[in-house]
């Protein structure tokens, strides 16, 4: 008895039609190129200017100062991130018992106080006040440092982000350190110093971008354009341009529970998407799913001419 599988496996032994593969390819190239050139001409592409530490300082100086205080206090996003930046305990994400974030280890080590504040200040020409502040900071114990910076960050928060109206208190050298950092940002020097870290060539923007992302300025700009994680932002683009709609399923999970409020959301979503992706790859071997095309016969439309012009073979 003829098995459909045998005919499907073997080279086609039935009737053929003329086919010009070269012509098909050339036509495809011409049409797609013309379409692309036309769309590009009609709609262009977005290019919202990048933020700089300088533009941050101008737009939200209080936010920059507060962020710098948090970096000194060890309470910023990066400070409490865990691997790959540091070894903060109990903050990394896991999928059940599996913690890949910890397994990867600290491969991009960042000491937030040193890398974001102290070293940049040391690498720039400093006035006496800043030098004294740096020395005072370095001479203090870690507990004292955390108290000064933590209290200052809290005080800025209590003053609604206005660092100029902070209540009196013992903040040690922190106000001078953060004030100097702000001045460096306002003048434009901090962008360069944080990027190059004293070397000439650098294409690694880890430090400036992490510092920027620890504040609220970057996120505020992003959310204003619907680019936030809970706004389906992954699929969106600046302006009215189409974005990355192919990421729809990846970002979908972040919009619903239990992922929306989970601390392990990133790891779980990655795990889930890996499983679904392997499922899609191995679809030919999954009973049920691989039969959907048979149950919902869209193929009868695609091959309607073939089915119509051929009679069922009597066996």
């Amino acid at each position: 008895m003829t098995n459909a599988t045998d005919i499907e496996r073997r080279p086609w032994a039935g009737a053929n039609r003329e086919y010009d593969i070269v012509k098909e390819f050339v036509i495809a190239m011409v049409v797609v190129t013309a379409l692309t050139l036309g769309l590009a001409f009609a709609f262009g592409s977005p290019d919202d200017k990048n933020l700089t530490l300088q533009s941050w300082a101008a737009a939200s100086p209080g936010d920059l100062v507060a962020t710098a205080a948090q970096e000194l206090a060890g309470t910023s996003g990066v400070a409490g991130y865990g691997p790959p930046y540091n070894n903060t305990p109990d903050v990394s994400q896991s999928i059940g018992p599996i913690n890949l974030q910890e397994l990867a280890g600290v491969r991009i080590p960042i000491d937030t106080a040193t890398d974001f504040v102290i070293r940049p200040l040391e690498q720039m020409p400093a006035n006496a006040a800043t030098t004294d502040a740096i020395n005072a900071w370095k001479g203090a114990t870690p507990d004292q440092q955390a108290k000064w910076a933590g209290d200052y960050a809290d005080a800025i928060d209590a003053a609604d982000g206005d660092y100029t109206k902070v209540a009196a208190g013992d903040y040690g050298p922190v106000p001078v350190l953060t004030g100097s950092l702000l001045a460096a940002a306002e003048g434009g020097a901090l962008d360069g110093v944080l990027l190059t870290q004293g070397r000439v060539y650098s294409t690694d923007y880890t430090l400036p971008l992490l510092f920027l992302a620890d504040g609220t300025y970057l996120e505020d700009q992003a959310r204003a354009q619907h680019l936030g994680g809970d706004q389906w932002g992954m699929t969106n683009e600046t302006g009215s341009y189409p974005g990355q709609s192919w990421l729809w399923l990846y970002t979908f999970w972040y919009q619903i529970e239990p992922f929306a409020s989970s601390d392990n959301a990133d790891a779980w979503v990655w795990g889930l998407m890996m499983v679904l992706t392997v499922g899609l790859m191995l679809l030919p071997f999954i009973p049920g799913l691989r039969s959907i095309p048979r149950w919902i016969p869209v193929h009868r439309l695609i091959w309607r001419d073939y089915y119509k012009t051929h009679a069922v073979v009597k066996r």
Binding site: A15, R17, A42, F43, G44, Y241, F252
Partner: protein
């Protein structure tokens, strides 16, 4: 108006979003998806030219 500026090619305006339950989609992305669905439906329904036999 925004719609006119988009048709005139200016996509640097803030986007508009359609919200249905947990789904929020930009009109740009919605247009792309609708076009894809239309292309698929047309592809499987439009008649294909009869070719020459090469049995």
């Amino acid at each position: 108006m925004h719609a006119l500026s988009v048709l005139q090619g200016d996509l640097n305006q803030p986007a508009h979003y359609l919200t249905v339950g947990p789904v929020q989609i930009s009109l740009g992305n919605l247009a792309v998806i609708i076009i894809m669905i239309i292309l698929f439906i047309l592809a499987i329904t439009l008649p294909f030219p009869k070719g020459k036999d090469r049995s």
